[in-house]
């Protein structure tokens, strides 16, 4: 549950900034890609994060900067959350082992 609250809060932060510029969209997209690349190192890219990243790329191609920023921020937020989850799991998984 707590995760969802965090996720929703992050998603809210990612609410579209009005009249974003191309530069802002590209910065947001780069940050999202970086977060997803980090998550990939843990074999833990989230399906909706990838979907948002694709949507952001499409929006950039269509020069829809507001949408691009919003989707990229969403992807980045989820990417970071996935990395956080994986780091936590690096030790937490031991807890679940049948002994």
């Amino acid at each position: 549950m707590k995760r969802f609250v965090v996720f929703i809060a992050l998603a809210a932060l990612a609410a579209p900034a009005s009249a974003a510029t191309q530069a802002e969209a590209e910065v947001a997209l780069a940050a999202a890609k970086q977060a997803e690349a980090e998550a990939a190192k843990y074999d833990n890219r989230w399906v909706p994060a990838e979907a948002a990243l694709k949507a952001a790329e499409t929006a950039v191609a269509q020069q829809a900067w507001d949408t691009a920023v919003a989707e990229a921020n969403k992807a980045r937020a989820m990417g970071l959350r996935a990395v956080e989850q994986s780091k936590e799991q690096e030790t937490a998984w031991h807890d679940a082992v049948i002994r």
Partner: protein, 283 residues
């Protein structure tokens, strides 16, 4: 549960002692893991004969079992099985065949897969062995997951029915590493839904997830490849792993990714003693 709390404290202690390294080695051995794993499912499902874990959800749910028995009167994998049998006998362009690549001509060997190859230093699944065989003989590899790969593994499984999983972990640090990696993958939560393999197939095993009964992890690979009504077609272990990942909202890894192979290695080793029942049918 005080036992659980004790375990947790031990883990915390271990993490402190080992400085919380990326994946601190578990002090237990594969053999001890296996015993604990099997004991867990035996006591969790006391009415289920051990060999019956080869039948996944049908081992633990009587109403589903009845429908399965009806399906098994004429199982829909029959076409794939025949296709696999025929294809298995076909010679490659160089005159050799699959039989030349496997012990005992490939008949009755499913239970020994995956194995750790000390020459290549990696886990070799049956599917990978089939493609390595093809490539060694100048043939193109088959697509993983479904189609002909499912048909061939169906035939090879069928010739191995009743033979118990007999996975070995050779005395090679790389084999042990592969095992540990597979174990970690099994218990690690990932994806947006924050599930691990164990969340469904240990903790919630035998319970309903939406309309389906979750299969116990023990022996869960014995029935593969399977015809799933949900797919309306055959699927291999790769197909199941990738769909499991996607269901956890985690982007699936490529079929036969080293992480999936290690997972299969761990999971099959946990199921040592469960007889091969594949090919199978599942909802």
């Amino acid at each position: 549960m005080s036992h659980r709390r004790t375990v947790r404290w031990l883990v915390v202690l271990a993490v402190c002692l080992f400085g919380g390294a990326a994946s601190p080695p578990d002090s237990s051995t594969p053999a001890a893991d296996q015993k604990a794993f099997q004991d867990y499912f035996r006591s969790r499902f006391p009415g289920v004969p051990f060999a019956d874990f080869a039948n996944g959800p049908y081992a633990v749910d009587a109403a589903m079992r009845k429908q399965w028995e009806e399906i098994m009167q004429f199982p829909p994998y029959d076409f794939a099985l025949d296709e696999g049998k025929t294809a298995f006998a076909v010679k490659f362009a160089n005159g050799k065949s699959y039989a030349d690549c496997f012990a005992n001509g490939g008949i009755g060997v499913r239970q020994n897969y995956p194995y750790f190859d000390t020459k290549t230093g990696d886990v070799v699944t049956l599917d990978l062995a089939i493609n390595r065989c093809r490539e060694a003989n100048g043939e193109k590899p088959l697509k993983y997951g479904t189609g002909m790969m499912a048909s061939l593994t169906a035939y090879m499984a069928e010739t191995s029915r009743g033979k118990s999983f007999d996975i070995k972990i050779p005395d090679d640090p790389r084999a042990r590493e592969a095992y540990e990696a597979g174990k970690q993958f099994f218990y690690t939560r990932r994806g947006q839904l924050n599930f691990s393999c164990a969340s469904c197939h240990v903790t919630a095993a035998g319970q309903r997830m939406r309309g389906d009964i979750l299969a116990p992890a023990i022996g869960i690979l014995a029935a593969f490849p399977i015809y799933r009504s949900d797919w309306g077609s055959m699927g291999t272990i790769d197909r199941r792993f990738t769909t499991c990942s996607a269901q956890m909202r985690s982007v699936p890894l490529p079929p036969q990714d080293v992480a999936y192979r290690n997972l299969e290695y761990f999971l099959s080793y946990m199921g040592n003693g469960v007889p091969i029942s594949g090919p199978g049918t599942r909802p």
